[in-house]
Every structure is written in C-alpha cells, then in structure tokens.
Symmetry: C3
Subunit: 263 residues, 3 copies
C-alpha cells in the first residue's frame, strides 16, 4: 500500500493531470493554488455551452456542492454525464450535506446518477449521507472520522464507491478495506478550503491511480505530511496556509507514504 | 464599556457562533478565513431553496452588497426575512453605496424592510446612505469616519440601528452614544476584504452580545488590536494579511478592549 | 522607451486609477489585492443595472473570460459598450481561448465589437485567437511567448490593438514594434491569478499611459521586477504570493524600466 501511494504521488506530479473543478465560490482560489502546488493543473468552468469541449480534455472532474444553486446543480449534472461518456473519473465533495435538505438531496442525486468513484467529506457529511441524522454544524464537522467507519463502509458499498473522510486521523474505505492516514495539524480545520482542496488533489491523484482506493489514500497522505510540517513552522492559520502550500510544492512523497496504515 | 467588550470577545470565541454570509464574490475566502481565525464558524450560501433550513441553525446573518445582482438581492431578501422570523441578528455592509443607484437603493431597501441591527461601512458609504452626496470612489472611502459622526447618528436614529464606521479611528454610534476605537494600520485599506471581514466578525460578536452597540464596538476593537500588531511585523500588504490572521487567532482581548473610548 | 515606462508607473501610483474588473471567480481576490498593492483602486461589479453608473466613474475596464457564462458575457458586452461610449480603455484577457469554442468565440466577438486597446494573454491563447490550432492545455500555456511573435503581430494588426504575451520573456507588440521584458520567476505560473492580475495592472497602467503599447509594457515590467525579487525570497508558491504582493507595494520603478528592450 505504501509503495502504491508513493508511485501514485510521483505519477501525479510527473503527468500533471488537468483537474476540472465545479466548486464553491469560497474556495476556488485556494483549490487552484493547491492543485498547482502539487503539480496538477486546474480549470474552473461551469457554462453548459463549453462543458463537453472541456470534459474531453480533462483528466478528472470535481463536483463540490459548497455554494450550490440550481444553475450550479445543472452544470454539475451536465459535466458529470459528459465525464461518464468520456470515461473521466468524478470525485464528489458533499459540502454541508446534512445542513440543508437541498445539500443532502443534491449529493445523493449525484451519487445515484453520476456515480462518482470517490466521495470525500468530513464525518458529519458522511453521517448525513449514510442516513443517520448528522449533528452537522454549518459546513464544519462535529463527527470525527473514526466515529463513522461503519457508516462510511455502508455508503461505499451502497454506491460502489470509495469514501474518504478527513479527521484527526483520516479514514478511507472501499466498503471492505479501511486505510488510515496519520499526521496533519488541527489548523487545517481553521483555513477555509483545505478540505475542498483535499478533494481536488484526490481527483488529481485519481487521474493517474491504479484504483480509486489508492488515489484517495494518496491525496490524504500528501496532505497529512505537508500539514504536519507546516504546522510546526507557523504562528497561526494565516501563516499556516502559506507554509502548507510551500510544503505541498516541496513534497516529501516517502514521508507521505509512511503515514498510511491498513486497518 | 471596556469590560463589556472583553466579555463579548471571550464569549464569541467560547460559543463559536455560526455566521451566515451572503457576501460578495471577491471576499468570500478571506471572510471565511477570518471568521475561523477569531473562533467563529462561517457558512456561505445563497440558494433560496435552502435558506430557511440554514437560517434556523445560524447565529447571525451578514448581508454584503459588494457584487450584488438581482439573484443575490433576492437571496438577501429571503434570508433576511427568515432571519427576522427566527430572531437571528442581521448586519448590513453597504459596499459601494453611493457609487451606483443600484447599491444605494438596495442598501436602503434592506434597511427599511429587513431592519438590520448594525450597519457597518466606511465614511463614504455612510454619507451616501445618510442622504448626502458622497464623493465615493469605487468601493474605497474618501470620507474619514470622524467626518461623518452627525450623518452616522442620524442614520442610526432613522433606522433604529447601530452604525459602525471604519477609519483611522473607528466610530460606532447607536444614535445617542458614540464610541471610538484606536489602533489598526493603514495597510488594512490595502487588503481587499478586511472591511467586509470586520462586518462578518461584527456579526459573530453580535451573536453573543448584550446589545448591538457592544457587539459592533467589540469587533472593531479586535481588528484594531490585531491590525496594529500585524502592521509592525509586515513588509507590505501581502505579508500583512498573513500576520493579521495569525494575530486574530492569537488575539489579546485585554489589549483590544483598552482601545475603546466613549465620546 | 524605458523613460516612458518609468513615467507611466509613477503616474499610475500617483493617480490611483479606478479599475473595473469583470473577471473570473477564481482570481477576484488576488486581482483586487494586487491592484491595491500597486496603487490602483479595484471595483468588481457585473449587474447590468449599475454598469453605466460605474463605467462613468472608472478609469479602465478589464474583461476576463476565465469563468464565463451567458450572464457574464452579457455583462461584459454591456460594460464594454459603455466603456466605448464614455471613452474608457478596455483590456481583454482571453483566458482559456482555444480550450473551448465558447471561449475562443467570446474573445473574438469582444475583439470585433468592443475593440479593446490591449489583449493580454499567454502564448496558447494568442495562438488560438490568431487562428492557429493552439495546443492549449486547460488555462495554462504550452506555447512560449517567443514562439508566437508572428501570430501576435498579425492579431495586433487585424484588430488594431496591442498584444501582450506573458512567458519566460514577456513579448508585447502593436503589430509593428516589439518589446521584450526580462525577469520574473517560474513560480509566477504556479500561483493562480498572477496572469489575470497582470491584465488588471495593464489596465491600471493604460489608464494613465501615453499609448496602449507603453501601458502594456509598463505593467509587465513591474511584474518582472517584483516577481524576480519575490522569487529570491520565497520557499515555494505559497510564500511567493505574499512576497510578490509586498514587492509590488514596495516597487522599484527604475529596476522595472530597465527590464525592457525593443526588438
């Protein structure tokens, strides 16, 4: 597993996948900066008139419902259908699922119709999608990743997907296997868009991965390594972001791979 | 007053209010990062289909007209009505009022129908809303806060609200009392979204405040303290933002409270 | 030429032009921060109801198609028409031209109807607009500026405009003369919005320039100087952005002017 992660991260930087993000308005800039820092190439676009042209040339698609509205939902559905037509992997970030019916239902609808190969969220979002009543507080998580292992496995099985849950220890499952990723820093929850950027980097890793499970684990391993190092240098969340992007750029893939254990 | 400010800031971090921002596209990221740094929790959402669900769980609502259009205005009105229904405080940032009729009229319409408990803006915006012909230049201010004390008092009385005006010395009035906040740094006007973030933090303070006057003063005191400290460390507006967020995170509430005087 | 650049940059900071950006959702914050750092004043607005009010008071208009959709295209056309009516210069950034028909056609339509005085893009975008089949990869460039000199000249002549192309060496042409700008740092391509911000600063310089050629060269000279200095201080793209904004704020205009040569 650690060898697979190492190779996945090296391949991601070498091939520089083009990741198309239909994502929320809050995190577009930091998502693009983090994709560039890890060696991938970002494109943000939502006009239905250009989605087929773009999906043809991309290597992975991110659907992030963080500031969804009916126009964005329509764009996500069109882009998702083209991604399936052109066999490009789709990663879903169900931001705020559980906080409103619109978010929960949109995420479930994407799971049913677009069939993303990875869902990447926090504990509360995964709980909400798994049918539990999540005690979601806004878009932050009140459930730790390790509290939702059973729900994540169930969700993965139901939708034949991989579920990647960030937390103090990240937890990734394909419904059978469970991987854990150790590291990071609590400040990662105090900078907006770090979670959404983990989703974008998951898509970048997925674009060159043997399978979605390895792709999902690789991205979280890279974030755990860079986050832990940045956390030791910073004086707060402002300087953390700057150091974190630098650490992603100067990434130590062997350190990242060592952070993975199988449960 | 200083004791009230100290207690308000401590309560804000302890209770971590969920602040819903319907805000402009330029500042969403920095608003979210600054809310997280001060200990609050941000949510950005504008889809009318989810506004009731979300307003039920939030602790305060920010309406910021910085990149308004008819869709955003409609969302602000719906969210504002729900905020009144569910008794959640509303803070208005009339960005660019005076620069276009659309902005001035939208801000006045929100004041009349939603009745926010605090208006937070710069001198030019307050002049424009008070019926004077503001020499507004874009969304920056050409009027200092201390030049608009009478207009701010009048505006506060007319709409039974608190008016909080940023400037070299910040000035806050409920129509009768006037508070001044000393500190900050001129670079705060050279980083986009610092003013809008002061509005967001005003909403966070308001969510746990004895009254809007104290809430409004507390937020400006926190910014004045952190801004002054960051200004001493930075080499320009790029590094200022990073230091400023760190200083907000490591805030010294006693230093903040000492910056307040009553006029 | 170097003296013209020096005077243009000094005039830009002294007059603080108000630059109206109808730009993409990814870069709004960094564009605003960089305009403020160089001494200009930004405004972002797209509501058709306020475009005439605003275009009357601005000094230059940027049209950037990075996250275009039919609403944004309509706003760009309305704002462009008002800019022509009120004789305000327009600068076009054809982000991603060549990556989709929508982008290529929208850029060409703006060139034909709004007639911007400067097009600022990367090599692939200029190739696509010049009718070559650009090997565009997303919104990043796969063509260096020096590979597209002939196409840029042709484009400039066809549309009677100036074409400014970023690259390892920046290249600017009015169809006859060609200027080169030396400096910068490769990390400038790994921070989202640096190119779009070069466009915004081009508009700020244009607002006070003798002619579009000098305006376009001046902005690239300023970026080359600040980028080279920031690149020597940073540890990666995260800290680069912070240093770059500081260097723009503390700009050395004589160093900037010396980076220009005529071909």
């Amino acid at each position: 597993m650690q060898k697979d992660v190492l190779e996945n991260l090296q391949a991601m930087r070498q091939k520089s996948p083009l990741v198309h993000c239909i994502t929320n308005l809050v995190v577009m800039q930091v998502n693009a900066n983090i994709l560039l820092a890890v060696g991938a190439s970002p494109i943000m676009a939502h006009a239905q008139e250009e989605l087929e042209d773009l999906v043809k040339i991309i290597n992975a698609l991110v659907l992030n419902i963080g500031t969804l509205d009916k126009h964005m939902i329509a764009s996500m559905n069109v882009a998702g259908d083209f991604a399936n037509k052109y066999k490009k992997p789709v990663v879903l970030d169900p931001v705020g699922a559980g906080a409103s019916r619109l978010r929960t239902e949109t995420a479930l609808s994407i799971l049913r119709t677009i069939k993303p190969c990875i869902i990447r969220g926090n504990g509360s979002e995964i709980m909400a999608l798994a049918g539990e009543i999540g005690e979601t507080k806004g878009v932050d998580s009140t459930k730790d990743s390790l509290e939702v292992v059973d729900e994540a496995k169930q969700l993965a099985k139901t939708f034949q997907t991989v579920v990647s849950v960030s937390g103090e220890v990240d937890m990734i499952t394909d419904g059978t296997r469970v991987a854990y990723v150790h590291g990071g820093n609590p400040l990662m929850t105090l900078v907006t868009g770090i979670g959404c950027s983990a989703t974008a980097v998951t898509a970048a890793c997925m674009a060159v991965a043997k399978n979605p499970f390895i792709g999902a684990v690789s991205a979280m391993a890279l974030f755990a390594s860079a986050g832990e190092k940045a956390g030791k240098k910073c004086q707060g969340p402002g300087s953390f972001l700057s150091y974190f992007i630098d650490e992603l750029y100067n990434a130590d893939y062997e350190d990242a791979a060592k952070r993975v254990t199988l449960g």
